[in-house]
Protein backbone atom coordinates (compact mmCIF):
# COMPACT_ATOMS: atom_id res chain seq x y z
CA UNK A 1 0.00 0.00 0.00
CA UNK A 2 2.99 2.26 -0.61
CA UNK A 3 1.82 5.73 -1.53
CA UNK A 4 5.23 7.28 -1.84
CA UNK A 5 8.24 5.72 -3.48
CA UNK A 6 11.15 5.61 -1.08
CA UNK A 7 13.52 6.86 -3.80
CA UNK A 8 11.46 10.03 -4.12
CA UNK A 9 11.52 10.34 -0.37
CA UNK A 10 15.28 9.94 -0.26
CA UNK A 11 15.76 12.51 -2.98
CA UNK A 12 13.66 15.00 -1.07
CA UNK A 13 15.64 14.40 2.10
CA UNK A 14 18.90 14.93 0.27
CA UNK A 15 17.65 18.19 -1.20
CA UNK A 16 16.26 19.43 2.09
CA UNK A 17 17.94 22.80 1.56
CA UNK A 18 15.57 23.46 -1.35
CA UNK A 19 12.28 22.29 0.13
CA UNK A 20 9.84 25.17 0.66
CA UNK A 21 8.34 23.46 3.70
CA UNK A 22 11.62 23.51 5.58
CA UNK A 23 12.15 26.68 7.62
CA UNK A 24 15.06 28.98 6.86
CA UNK A 25 16.80 28.39 10.19
CA UNK A 26 17.13 24.69 9.48
CA UNK A 27 18.26 25.29 5.89
CA UNK A 28 20.93 27.70 7.07
CA UNK A 29 22.16 25.23 9.66
CA UNK A 30 22.03 22.38 7.18
CA UNK A 31 24.24 24.32 4.78
CA UNK A 32 26.81 24.86 7.50
CA UNK A 33 27.01 21.39 9.00
CA UNK A 34 27.02 19.54 5.69
CA UNK A 35 30.28 21.21 4.65
CA UNK A 36 32.83 18.48 4.01
CA UNK A 37 35.76 19.66 6.04
CA UNK A 38 34.22 22.01 8.53
CA UNK A 39 36.43 22.71 11.50
CA UNK A 40 35.64 23.10 15.14
CA UNK A 41 36.73 26.74 14.82
CA UNK A 42 34.24 27.41 12.01
CA UNK A 43 31.37 25.87 13.95
CA UNK A 44 32.42 27.76 17.03
CA UNK A 45 32.37 31.05 15.10
CA UNK A 46 29.02 30.22 13.57
CA UNK A 47 27.53 29.77 17.02
CA UNK A 48 29.32 32.70 18.63
CA UNK A 49 28.15 35.09 15.93
CA UNK A 50 24.57 34.58 17.10
CA UNK A 51 24.01 35.51 20.76
CA UNK A 52 20.64 33.76 20.94
CA UNK A 53 22.12 30.58 19.54
CA UNK A 54 25.11 30.84 21.88
CA UNK A 55 22.80 31.10 24.84
CA UNK A 56 20.74 28.09 23.76
CA UNK A 57 23.81 25.97 23.07
CA UNK A 58 25.41 26.79 26.41
CA UNK A 59 22.19 26.13 28.25
CA UNK A 60 21.90 22.71 26.65
CA UNK A 61 25.57 21.89 27.19
CA UNK A 62 25.16 22.59 30.88
CA UNK A 63 21.93 20.63 31.17
CA UNK A 64 21.23 17.09 32.33
CA UNK A 65 21.49 15.87 28.78
CA UNK A 66 25.25 15.93 29.05
CA UNK A 67 25.67 15.59 32.79
CA UNK A 68 28.77 17.69 33.15
CA UNK A 69 29.43 18.58 36.76
CA UNK A 70 31.25 21.81 35.94
CA UNK A 71 29.86 24.82 34.21
CA UNK A 72 30.86 25.34 30.61
CA UNK A 73 30.94 29.07 30.11
CA UNK A 74 32.07 29.56 26.56
CA UNK A 75 31.37 28.15 23.14
CA UNK A 76 35.05 27.52 22.54
CA UNK A 77 35.31 25.57 25.78
CA UNK A 78 32.25 23.56 24.76
CA UNK A 79 33.59 22.81 21.30
CA UNK A 80 36.97 21.84 22.69
CA UNK A 81 35.45 19.60 25.35
CA UNK A 82 32.79 17.95 23.24
CA UNK A 83 34.21 17.81 19.75
CA UNK A 84 32.76 18.47 16.36
CA UNK A 85 30.13 15.77 16.16
CA UNK A 86 28.58 16.43 19.53
CA UNK A 87 28.47 20.18 18.84
CA UNK A 88 26.86 19.64 15.45
CA UNK A 89 24.30 17.41 17.07
CA UNK A 90 23.66 19.87 19.84
CA UNK A 91 23.22 22.68 17.32
CA UNK A 92 20.65 20.66 15.48
CA UNK A 93 18.90 19.85 18.70
CA UNK A 94 18.50 23.46 19.78
CA UNK A 95 17.63 24.64 16.30
CA UNK A 96 14.89 22.14 15.61
CA UNK A 97 13.26 22.35 19.02
CA UNK A 98 10.51 24.73 17.93
CA UNK A 99 10.07 22.86 14.70
CA UNK A 100 9.66 19.59 16.59
CA UNK A 101 7.03 21.10 18.81
CA UNK A 102 5.15 22.52 15.84
CA UNK A 103 5.20 19.35 13.76
CA UNK A 104 4.57 16.87 16.55
CA UNK A 105 3.68 18.15 19.97
CA UNK A 106 5.59 16.18 22.59
CA UNK A 107 8.37 15.04 20.23
CA UNK A 108 10.93 17.37 21.76
CA UNK A 109 10.10 16.17 25.27
CA UNK A 110 10.44 12.58 24.07
CA UNK A 111 13.78 13.35 22.40
CA UNK A 112 15.13 15.20 25.43
CA UNK A 113 14.22 12.35 27.77
CA UNK A 114 15.83 9.90 25.35
CA UNK A 115 19.03 11.97 25.32
CA UNK A 116 19.16 11.92 29.11
CA UNK A 117 18.44 8.18 29.35
CA UNK A 118 21.02 7.43 26.63
CA UNK A 119 23.65 9.40 28.49
CA UNK A 120 22.93 7.65 31.79
CA UNK A 121 23.08 4.18 30.21
CA UNK A 122 26.28 5.08 28.33
CA UNK A 123 27.86 6.19 31.62
CA UNK A 124 26.76 2.99 33.34
CA UNK A 125 28.35 1.00 30.53
CA UNK A 126 31.48 3.14 30.97
CA UNK A 127 31.60 4.32 27.38
CA UNK A 128 34.43 6.73 26.73
CA UNK A 129 32.19 9.36 25.17
CA UNK A 130 28.68 9.22 26.57
CA UNK A 131 27.97 12.64 25.02
CA UNK A 132 28.02 11.12 21.55
CA UNK A 133 25.35 8.62 22.52
CA UNK A 134 23.41 11.45 24.12
CA UNK A 135 23.35 13.27 20.77
CA UNK A 136 22.09 10.15 19.05
CA UNK A 137 19.32 9.95 21.64
CA UNK A 138 18.44 13.60 21.03
CA UNK A 139 18.26 13.22 17.26
CA UNK A 140 16.99 9.66 16.79
CA UNK A 141 13.51 10.80 15.70
CA UNK A 142 14.47 13.78 13.59
CA UNK A 143 13.24 11.90 10.53
CA UNK A 144 9.68 12.36 11.78
CA UNK A 145 10.05 16.14 11.53
CA UNK A 146 10.97 16.04 7.86
CA UNK A 147 8.27 13.49 7.06
CA UNK A 148 5.66 15.65 8.73
CA UNK A 149 6.88 18.82 7.04
CA UNK A 150 6.98 17.43 3.56
CA UNK A 151 4.25 14.77 3.70
CA UNK A 152 1.89 15.96 6.39
CA UNK A 153 -1.27 14.27 5.10
CA UNK A 154 0.13 10.76 4.66
CA UNK A 155 1.97 11.08 7.97
CA UNK A 156 -1.12 12.17 9.82
CA UNK A 157 -2.97 9.26 8.30
CA UNK A 158 -0.12 7.03 9.51
CA UNK A 159 -0.55 8.40 13.03
CA UNK A 160 -4.29 7.73 12.85
CA UNK A 161 -3.71 4.19 11.70
CA UNK A 162 -1.16 3.65 14.47
CA UNK A 163 -3.64 4.85 17.06
CA UNK A 164 -6.61 2.91 15.70
CA UNK A 165 -4.79 -0.38 15.23
CA UNK A 166 -2.30 -0.14 18.12
CA UNK A 167 0.60 -0.22 15.69
CA UNK A 168 4.04 1.21 16.33
CA UNK A 169 4.36 4.37 14.26
CA UNK A 170 7.20 2.96 12.15
CA UNK A 171 4.93 0.20 10.88
CA UNK A 172 2.30 2.66 9.76
CA UNK A 173 5.08 4.71 8.13
CA UNK A 174 6.33 1.65 6.27
CA UNK A 175 2.83 1.08 4.89
CA UNK A 176 2.86 4.50 3.27
CA UNK A 177 6.46 5.46 2.56
CA UNK A 178 8.20 2.14 2.08
CA UNK A 179 10.69 3.60 4.57
CA UNK A 180 10.56 4.73 8.17
CA UNK A 181 11.62 7.77 10.15
CA UNK A 182 14.72 5.77 11.08
CA UNK A 183 15.69 5.55 7.40
CA UNK A 184 15.01 9.25 6.90
CA UNK A 185 17.02 10.10 10.02
CA UNK A 186 19.89 7.99 8.72
CA UNK A 187 19.84 9.81 5.34
CA UNK A 188 19.84 13.15 7.13
CA UNK A 189 22.72 12.12 9.37
CA UNK A 190 24.64 11.06 6.27
CA UNK A 191 23.90 14.33 4.53
CA UNK A 192 25.09 16.24 7.55
CA UNK A 193 28.31 14.24 7.61
CA UNK A 194 27.88 12.70 10.99
CA UNK A 195 30.19 9.76 11.68
CA UNK A 196 29.19 6.31 10.54
CA UNK A 197 28.42 5.15 14.07
CA UNK A 198 25.92 7.92 14.68
CA UNK A 199 24.26 7.31 11.31
CA UNK A 200 23.93 3.66 12.22
CA UNK A 201 22.43 4.34 15.64
CA UNK A 202 19.73 6.55 14.13
CA UNK A 203 19.09 4.20 11.23
CA UNK A 204 18.75 1.06 13.34
CA UNK A 205 17.35 2.27 16.65
CA UNK A 206 14.23 0.13 16.00
CA UNK A 207 16.20 -2.84 14.65
CA UNK A 208 19.33 -2.81 16.78
CA UNK A 209 20.39 -6.31 15.76
CA UNK A 210 21.27 -4.88 12.33
CA UNK A 211 23.87 -2.47 13.70
CA UNK A 212 27.28 -3.83 12.71
CA UNK A 213 29.56 -0.93 13.57
CA UNK A 214 27.99 0.38 16.73
CA UNK A 215 25.87 -2.38 18.27
CA UNK A 216 26.31 -1.13 21.81
CA UNK A 217 25.41 2.50 21.10
CA UNK A 218 22.45 1.41 18.97
CA UNK A 219 21.25 -0.88 21.75
CA UNK A 220 21.52 2.01 24.18
CA UNK A 221 19.32 4.37 22.16
CA UNK A 222 16.89 1.52 21.42
CA UNK A 223 16.49 0.79 25.11
CA UNK A 224 16.46 4.48 26.08
CA UNK A 225 13.64 5.10 23.59
CA UNK A 226 11.70 2.18 25.08
CA UNK A 227 12.20 3.43 28.64
CA UNK A 228 11.06 6.95 27.78
CA UNK A 229 7.91 5.52 26.24
CA UNK A 230 7.45 3.18 29.22
CA UNK A 231 7.51 6.16 31.57
CA UNK A 232 5.29 8.16 29.25
CA UNK A 233 7.40 11.28 28.66
CA UNK A 234 6.37 13.25 25.62
CA UNK A 235 4.80 11.87 22.47
CA UNK A 236 6.46 10.32 19.44
CA UNK A 237 3.66 9.30 17.09
CA UNK A 238 1.63 6.97 19.26
CA UNK A 239 1.39 5.94 22.90
CA UNK A 240 2.79 2.45 22.80
CA UNK A 241 5.73 0.88 24.55
CA UNK A 242 7.73 -1.11 22.00
CA UNK A 243 8.78 -4.62 22.94
CA UNK A 244 12.45 -4.40 23.69
CA UNK A 245 14.76 -6.26 21.32
CA UNK A 246 16.11 -9.19 23.36
CA UNK A 247 19.58 -9.05 21.78
CA UNK A 248 19.93 -5.35 22.60
CA UNK A 249 18.57 -5.87 26.09
CA UNK A 250 20.97 -8.70 26.83
CA UNK A 251 23.88 -6.71 25.46
CA UNK A 252 23.29 -3.99 28.03
CA UNK A 253 22.65 -6.22 31.04
CA UNK A 254 20.93 -3.45 32.99
CA UNK A 255 19.89 -4.36 36.51
CA UNK A 256 16.58 -3.42 38.10
CA UNK A 257 18.43 -0.74 40.08
CA UNK A 258 19.98 0.59 36.87
CA UNK A 259 16.47 1.01 35.46
CA UNK A 260 15.34 2.82 38.60
CA UNK A 261 18.37 5.12 38.38
CA UNK A 262 17.62 5.94 34.74
CA UNK A 263 13.98 6.68 35.51
CA UNK A 264 14.98 8.92 38.43
CA UNK A 265 17.52 10.81 36.40
CA UNK A 266 14.95 11.49 33.70
CA UNK A 267 12.31 12.46 36.25
CA UNK A 268 14.58 14.87 38.11
CA UNK A 269 15.75 16.57 34.98
CA UNK A 270 12.74 16.81 32.76
CA UNK A 271 11.49 20.03 34.31
CA UNK A 272 14.92 21.61 34.46
CA UNK A 273 15.88 20.57 30.94
CA UNK A 274 13.18 22.83 29.52
CA UNK A 275 13.11 24.50 26.16
CA UNK A 276 16.42 26.11 25.30
CA UNK A 277 15.05 29.67 25.32
Amino acid sequence: MSEIDSRILRHKVESINTLPTVPAVLKKLSAVIEKPKITVVEISSFISSDPALTSKVLKMVNSAIYGFPGRIASVSHATMLLGLNVIKGLLLGVSVFELMQKTMNGLYEHSLACAIASRVIAQKKELKEPEEVSVAGLLHDIGKVILLLEFSEPYESAMNEAREKNLPIFEAEKNRFDATHADVGGWLAEKWRFPRNLIEVIQFHHRPALAKNAPLETAIVHVADMLVRARGFGFAGENLVPEVNPVAWELLKLSDQDIRDILSEMEDNMETAEEPT
Partner: protein
Protein backbone atom coordinates in the same frame (compact mmCIF):
# COMPACT_ATOMS: atom_id res chain seq x y z
CA UNK B 1 13.45 18.03 42.42
CA UNK B 2 10.83 20.42 41.08
CA UNK B 3 11.31 24.13 40.53
CA UNK B 4 8.58 25.78 42.57
CA UNK B 5 7.50 29.40 42.09
CA UNK B 6 7.78 31.53 45.22
CA UNK B 7 4.02 31.98 45.38
CA UNK B 8 3.60 28.24 45.90
CA UNK B 9 6.25 27.75 48.57
CA UNK B 10 5.04 26.43 51.91
CA UNK B 11 6.76 26.16 55.28
CA UNK B 12 8.26 22.71 55.74
CA UNK B 13 9.44 22.39 52.15
CA UNK B 14 13.17 21.64 51.93
CA UNK B 15 15.53 23.29 49.48
CA UNK B 16 17.10 20.94 46.95
CA UNK B 17 19.67 23.55 45.93
CA UNK B 18 21.07 26.53 47.82
CA UNK B 19 19.54 29.97 47.37
CA UNK B 20 22.28 32.30 46.26
CA UNK B 21 22.21 36.10 46.31
CA UNK B 22 23.11 38.11 43.23
CA UNK B 23 26.61 38.71 44.63
CA UNK B 24 27.15 34.96 44.88
CA UNK B 25 26.73 34.70 48.63
CA UNK B 26 24.84 31.61 49.76
CA UNK B 27 21.77 32.85 51.63
CA UNK B 28 20.15 29.52 52.38
CA UNK B 29 21.97 26.21 52.14
CA UNK B 30 20.80 23.04 50.48
CA UNK B 31 18.38 21.03 52.67
CA UNK B 32 17.23 24.11 54.58
CA UNK B 33 13.67 23.63 55.77
CA UNK B 34 11.71 26.72 54.76
CA UNK B 35 9.85 28.79 57.30
CA UNK B 36 7.35 31.52 56.55
CA UNK B 37 10.08 34.09 57.28
CA UNK B 38 12.49 32.50 54.85
CA UNK B 39 9.82 32.36 52.16
CA UNK B 40 9.15 36.06 52.56
CA UNK B 41 12.88 36.73 52.48
CA UNK B 42 13.23 34.81 49.21
CA UNK B 43 10.35 36.79 47.77
CA UNK B 44 11.96 40.07 48.87
CA UNK B 45 15.13 39.09 47.06
CA UNK B 46 13.18 39.06 43.83
CA UNK B 47 13.74 35.36 43.25
CA UNK B 48 11.08 33.79 41.04
CA UNK B 49 11.41 30.12 41.93
CA UNK B 50 13.55 27.67 43.87
CA UNK B 51 14.35 23.97 43.63
CA UNK B 52 12.50 21.97 46.24
CA UNK B 53 13.42 18.52 47.47
CA UNK B 54 11.03 15.79 46.55
CA UNK B 55 9.26 14.39 43.56
CA UNK B 56 8.05 16.78 40.89
CA UNK B 57 4.51 18.02 41.21
CA UNK B 58 2.43 15.85 38.94
CA UNK B 59 0.00 17.30 36.49
CA UNK B 60 -2.05 14.13 36.17
CA UNK B 61 -3.76 12.21 38.95
CA UNK B 62 -2.30 8.98 40.27
CA UNK B 63 -5.24 7.02 38.81
CA UNK B 64 -4.85 8.57 35.39
CA UNK B 65 -1.10 8.01 35.42
CA UNK B 66 -1.46 4.33 36.31
CA UNK B 67 -4.27 3.65 33.88
CA UNK B 68 -2.25 5.30 31.10
CA UNK B 69 0.64 3.02 32.09
CA UNK B 70 -1.61 -0.03 31.81
CA UNK B 71 -2.92 1.12 28.43
CA UNK B 72 0.46 1.64 26.83
CA UNK B 73 1.85 -1.64 28.13
CA UNK B 74 -1.22 -3.74 27.35
CA UNK B 75 -0.26 -4.91 23.83
CA UNK B 76 3.22 -6.12 24.85
CA UNK B 77 2.98 -7.04 28.51
CA UNK B 78 3.73 -10.69 27.85
CA UNK B 79 6.77 -10.11 25.70
CA UNK B 80 10.19 -10.96 27.16
CA UNK B 81 11.39 -8.62 29.93
CA UNK B 82 8.37 -6.31 29.63
CA UNK B 83 6.42 -7.53 32.65
CA UNK B 84 9.31 -6.83 35.01
CA UNK B 85 9.97 -3.49 33.34
CA UNK B 86 6.38 -2.49 33.81
CA UNK B 87 6.59 -3.39 37.48
CA UNK B 88 9.65 -1.18 37.95
CA UNK B 89 8.04 1.72 36.08
CA UNK B 90 4.84 1.31 38.05
CA UNK B 91 6.72 1.47 41.35
CA UNK B 92 8.57 4.54 40.10
CA UNK B 93 5.32 6.28 39.18
CA UNK B 94 3.67 5.36 42.47
CA UNK B 95 6.69 6.84 44.24
CA UNK B 96 5.91 10.20 42.65
CA UNK B 97 2.63 10.44 44.52
CA UNK B 98 3.84 9.65 48.00
Amino acid sequence: MPKVPVSQLKPGMKLAKPVVAKNGMVMLGEATELTQTWIERIDDMGIASVFIDGPPVQTVSREDALSALDARFAPIEDKPYMKNLKKIVREHIEGLYE
